[in-house]
Subunit: 776 residues, 2 copies
């Protein structure tokens, strides 16, 4: 391997198992989530939803609501001072309150403001709406029919991109084996513990502050200001503690943040909007359902020579982050492999359903499920061990990805395969029903009821926004005279533990104990617009910004300590809460003394860093070039036991090996891998939004099967560290990648156990039981 | 004059008459002052005061208070987690709650927390304290008696400094005329509209936020954290709208901020402390009373050859900012004149009275009154016109101040004298009683009841902390994609209009309308520790920081616009909300477009500036060297009419000429000059804290004569602009200087009118009437 160690120094805090810096307030209930906040005069608001998936909005009549006691006001579309539009990319296509047309059942038509949540909700229900219903467009096929009604003026294609590498026709011509199949995945709900909530508080100084459970406070600020018709500098967004987001609290937080702010400014008092679970499911984005056709060509030794994919995503009523998801799915379609010839088309279309957007994985779980299914099908066709097939094709440093991007270091896919192979142990016991026991396998011990199988899946996931947008993060580090430091970053911690990572990075750079570091909640006033908290980029791009700011402050401390210790600044080391001579660590001064002296000597003790990913050479036509600053590579292995009678799948073993560059917090890393894997498992086995005629039928946790703690996987996290120059101390992100790995490995394990290739996620108990019953 | 123009460019916003950016919310009542803030569960706290000026504190018994309904808790000194000490300089000598000893009547002994302000106050009153009284030390003489009880362990001298320039003995030996006198001034109350108030709010994240009516939020943060025993990074101080401070809301804000924070953390709920007027007068610092002996020697042509002063300040029970006031009085004792030989001793002593600290002018009004009285006495002795004497001695560029500091530009004292001379017009009518009508004066027209006089006074006032401490300010400028900008600064606006000045500076640098700029209230989280908001340094050091930050952002905009306009960044001008070609202003792009493009191209749009005054070469033994970054120079003229019968003085005319370097906001400047002059006038004529046996007898606005709107002076502000490199666009500060000018001119005018030299301020109606009666 040509990978060079990025940081060879001894690290004190980075790499240590650190408990979450905000864990205490979270588990003791002291942490205040947006819906916990109270302000004098606080009012509550609730939206009247359309309830029909498509139609002409003829009239919205607030008068019945206004007659109710406890209803203070009802806002209509015409009450919105600004353009009444939100969205991620221009043309922003989503109204805050519908005007003229209804595009999905969760569409907000009016906002009722009441003195309590209950009264606001009753007010919303009482708003009368006259909608002339239209035949809803419910499938991708209907939407793409040239004769179809246009859901948006530009037509029903939300976004469509094509990636071309090499010559696919020639590639397939040279292939000795070709496999082909079509795969589908379903809508998935984020199902965070805390539904969406915001409070907008007018400041008495011409400014308004919005406290929000949210993912991307700067998105909120921009859209709130625009829709209020105020300069953005008059809007401040502060992230409240956020009980999960997974991509979900972006558009919807913007929507309710803007609505609450408009109501608050109009009424001159604080206004809260807090969703109930049903509203959270129907009225905010889902993971895109996908239909993906794949064709893969290889030589007889398994060498991949060509790959082709057509990705069709159902994006629902609004664009949201569909453009990025479309692109990300496309970029990742060839997997972590050397494939000389690749052609991928990726398209998202509008339908009259709840809109789809960001969801942990961001299109990658869908394509990974499909492409890793292909790999297993290819392995079967070639008679190769699935892991061996992947090993032969795994990208190596210096080789190009599907976009032709070449990394000379931190390409750990091969090592994750090896780690899994080393740890894999014997296959689970029991024959595969179709093929009989494989050579060398143990015989089944429990008769005919259980089937056993093993699935593997490899993946890569681009870290950072990369060429998808702009990848900047602001961070500030401010040291007080007592040597404690306050860290601000523009990226949010929604539970993933990034505040802890940032605290570690700052503590490491400043040479202090992590208890001397405080990481603030995100406040748009505090740091440079850092864009959205997405793309597993917190540790890399955010951590780099923190490191940069902390190093500037450390520089001041070293300069001061140099004067005090009578040595050049470079001879000073900051560690253990002291400034010490590198050459004689006993010559040391407590950092608080150094900080006080530095302040009074005029050395700056606060720095605002601006971290920007390097310019990418990327062609947005062919999609060739350097798209991401790094990739996380992973290999998952899942051993399952399938109950023939019930279809129930028990995961016996789950290995999740990821090349994370450098582990910052092993405890946090394990949490991320376990959490991400569980979402992948749920995508593959449990969760499916059921729609009927444009209505979601299971918008509650009784009917929608979110995994419970009993479904927790026996995940074993295997760490591969191939340091990357992209992140602090070599770290890469890990938030999203496990989703794809677990989902794909699960599907392959079920196929291995049952001998049946399920091509649609989720593969539920019922699906399995029904399919096995048919086989018998 | 050798002064070089500092900025010759055309200015759009700087120099314009701009209404206060926060004026609207202030006059409409929307602005929220600290005592207006409400939080769920808010409790109120009130201190039990000692009520005796000195004694042994034997016991504090909270039990009677705790038995009252509505009293939640009582905090004693032992409940303070930290050192129970605040102060400006080490050794911090002031306890939050007294333990062991009482040093002044306003000493806090315990803090009662109640469910309302009234109940908290009742609780405080019910706390039982056993104090064995000691004979209080009430005068400077008593305090300096070697046998005196020591008020603090280090003795009764708070601070003592000596300035020596040249050889004073030799100077006086060469003098042809010598005048000598001793002058006194009294304690003065800040008398801001809004008494002190803070609210401490525990954040649920291990942090605490203190909203405070305050002057120096970073002082608060440090002391609150220390006394809470928390890292400073866990404490956030946000300035609430502040209804005046004038130096007064520093120590006391720190005291009540820390007490409220300790109570809030202990009880887990927000706690407010808001003073009533009596508490505000007795329990927070006053302006130092002074006794100053002066000796001045000159040649017969008026040339000053030697000056000697002994300054004795009564500092009350605690050091507060006495060290700086001691020093500042000393530095300014020789006035804005060329004096080759100077010797000044300056000493502050402890007494058992309300402590003294910062008050607009900061020791300079006291010494200016004395030294400008000396100048008039000298003029009389020499038979010279008072203005002519000053003209002959006024500092010129290239000449040294009392500390030997040489400015080569922005030394406008001569021009202020000329401006006043030009504008002065005829003397007020009426004879001086002792001398008869001066040559050329108009005869009196109103018989014998009224006496007329004219007084002039010159002054200088050092701008910035300078060598007194460290002079750093942090500022941030953040431009949003819509081209509006948010400005944060570490210095507070307490009414003086600095937010408006900062907005102007930012608007100028960014080329936008001032309505596109929002200046935040100070938040310690947001910017570098900027030290205290004192020393008329907001415009200079603060404005420089804002300018620096804004120019960085402007640089990004220019770079982006250069790409868009296809020209080098230097060819781009930002003005009128556009980026335009300098050479062809019609080639222009709206700034919002440029800002959006800059964001998406990765140009930083936020910058945190750190402004640090240049290193000073200053000898803290002899007090020779470069102490301040600039001086404001001024000349005041006051024409008065004195009512012989009542002693009432009517100010007929008041010219206030100041060299401010560059006017940023003429409207704000006039406000500062008028307000400062009124405080000087009140110091000279109206206000006197009456103490008896260590008790303040007039701690209310019925008995303490604060000027009302009817006392408004007919001030005419005359602007002299000698640009200084110290401040943005050449600006210097103007907050404090008018106080000294008006006070000294008033005293000289009364002396001129009555023929009597009053050597003690205030010169009240009663004083005048009594003195004139004696004369008759």
């Amino acid at each position: 391997m040509s990978a060079q160690p990025v940081n060879t120094g001894e690290l004190a805090v980075v790499g240590a198992r650190v408990r979450k810096v905000d864990g205490r307030e979270l588990v003791t209930g002291q942490a205040r989530f947006a819906a916990d906040l109270r302000f004098p005069g606080l009012l509550y608001a609730s939206a009247r939803r359309a309830g029909v998936p498509a139609g002409k909005l003829v009239e919205v009549d607030p008068s019945p609501a206004l007659r109710l006691p406890g209803v203070v006001a009802v806002l209509l579309a015409r009450d919105i001072p600004g353009p009444n539009l939100i969205g991620i990319l221009p043309p922003f296509d989503q109204p805050l309150l519908a005007a003229g047309e209804v595009r999905y059942e969760g569409e907000s038509l009016a906002l009722a403001v009441g003195v309590s949540r209950e009264e606001a909700r009753r007010g919303a229900a009482a708003v009368r709406a006259r909608i002339e219903p239209w035949e809803p467009i419910l499938t991708v096929e209907q939407a793409l029919d040239p004769a179809a009604r246009r859901i948006h003026p530009g037509g029903n294609v939300t976004y469509s991109k094509k990636l071309v590498k090499g010559d696919v026709a020639q590639g397939f011509a040279g292939a000795q084996v070709v496999v082909e199949n079509t795969y589908q995945t379903s809508f998935q709900e984020h199902a965070y513990l805390e539904p969406e909530a915001v409070v907008a508080v007018p400041g008495g100084d011409g400014r308004i502050t919005v406290y929000a459970s949210c993912q991307s406070p700067f998105h909120l600020r921009g859209h709130i200001a625009a829709n209020l018709g105020l300069p953005a500098s008059r809007v401040r967004v502060v992230q409240a503690y956020t009980g999960g987001s997974f991509g979900g609290k972006d558009d919807v937080a913007t929507e309710i943040g803007a609505l609450a702010a408009i109501a608050a400014v109009r009424l001159g008092v604080p206004v809260m909007i807090a969703h109930e679970r049903e509203e959270s499911i129907i009225g905010s984005n889902l993971r895109h359902a996908a239909r993906i056709r794949y064709r893969t060509g290889a030589l007889r030794d398994g060498t991949l020579v060509a790959g082709e994919a057509e990705i069709l995503l159902d994006g629902g009523a609004y664009a949201s982050e569909s453009p990025f998801v479309t692109m990300k799915a496309m970029i990742h379609a060839a997997g972590p492999y050397r494939v000389p010839n690749v052609r991928v088309e990726s398209t998202t279309v509008y339908t009259n359903k709840t809109y789809c957007g960001a969801f942990r994985g961001f299109g990658v779980p869908q394509v990974t499920f499909a492409s890793e299914s292909q790999m297993d099908e290819l392995a079967a066709a070639l008679g190769l061990d699935p892991l061996e097939l992947r090993r032969r094709n795994a990208l190596r440093p210096g080789e190009g990805t599907a976009t032709g991007q070449v990394f000379t270091q931190s390409v750990g896919i091969g090592r994750t395969i090896e780690r899994v192979a080393e740890k894999a142990g014997p296959r689970p016991m029991g024959p595969k029903p179709a093929e009989g026991p494989p050579a060398g396998a143990q015989p089944a011990t429990d008769g005919g009821r259980y089937l056993y199988g093993r699935g593997v899946a490899c993946l890569l996931q681009g870290i950072s926004n990369g060429a998808e947008g702009i990848d900047v993060v602001g961070a500030s580090v401010q040291m007080a005279q007592d040597g404690s430091a306050l860290v601000g970053v523009g990226l949010t911690d929604m539970g993933q533990g990034s505040r802890t990572v940032f605290a570690q990075v700052a503590a490491e750079a400043l040479g202090v104990d992590i208890t001397r570091i405080t990481v603030r909640q995100v406040d748009t006033d505090a740091v440079h617009d850092s864009g959205p908290t997405v793309a597993s980029r917190s540790t890399t791009v955010g951590g780099t910004a923190v490191l940069k700011a902390a190093r500037e402050v450390a520089g001041s401390l070293r300069s001061m300590a140099g004067l005090m210790l009578k040595c050049p600044p470079e001879a000073v080391r900051l560690a253990e809460g002291f400034a010490m001579l590198e050459a004689d660590p006993q010559a040391r001064i407590p950092l608080a003394e150094v900080a006080t002296a530095a302040y009074w000597s005029g050395f700056p003790l606060m720095h605002l860093a601006f971290s920007r990913a390097p310019d990418a050479r990327f062609d947005h036509e062919t999609h060739q070039g350097d798209i991401y600053i790094a990739y996380n590579f992973g290999t998952h292995l899942m051993d399952v036991r399938v109950d023939r009678w019930t279809g129930k799948v028990k995961v016996l073993r789950h290995l999740a090996a990821h090349d994370v560059g450098r582990v910052v917090n092993p405890l946090g890393l394990e949490g991320q891998v376990e959490g991400g894997s569980l979402i992948g498992f749920a995508l593959a086995h449990l969760e499916r939004i059921d729609t009927e005629g444009g209505h979601i039928r299971n918008a509650n946790f009784a009917d929608y099967a979110v995994p419970s703690i009993l479904d927790r996987l026996p995940t074993e996290t295997l760490v591969v560290e191939e340091p990357s120059p992209a992140g602090p101390f070599g770290a890469k992100g890990v938030g999203e990648p496990p989703v794809a790995g677990a989902a794909a490995a699960f599907a392959n394990a079920v196929a291995d156990a049952t001998g049946l290739r399920f091509t649609r996620l989720p593969i539920t108990r019922a699906d399995i039981a029904a399919a096995l019953a048919k086989e018998v």
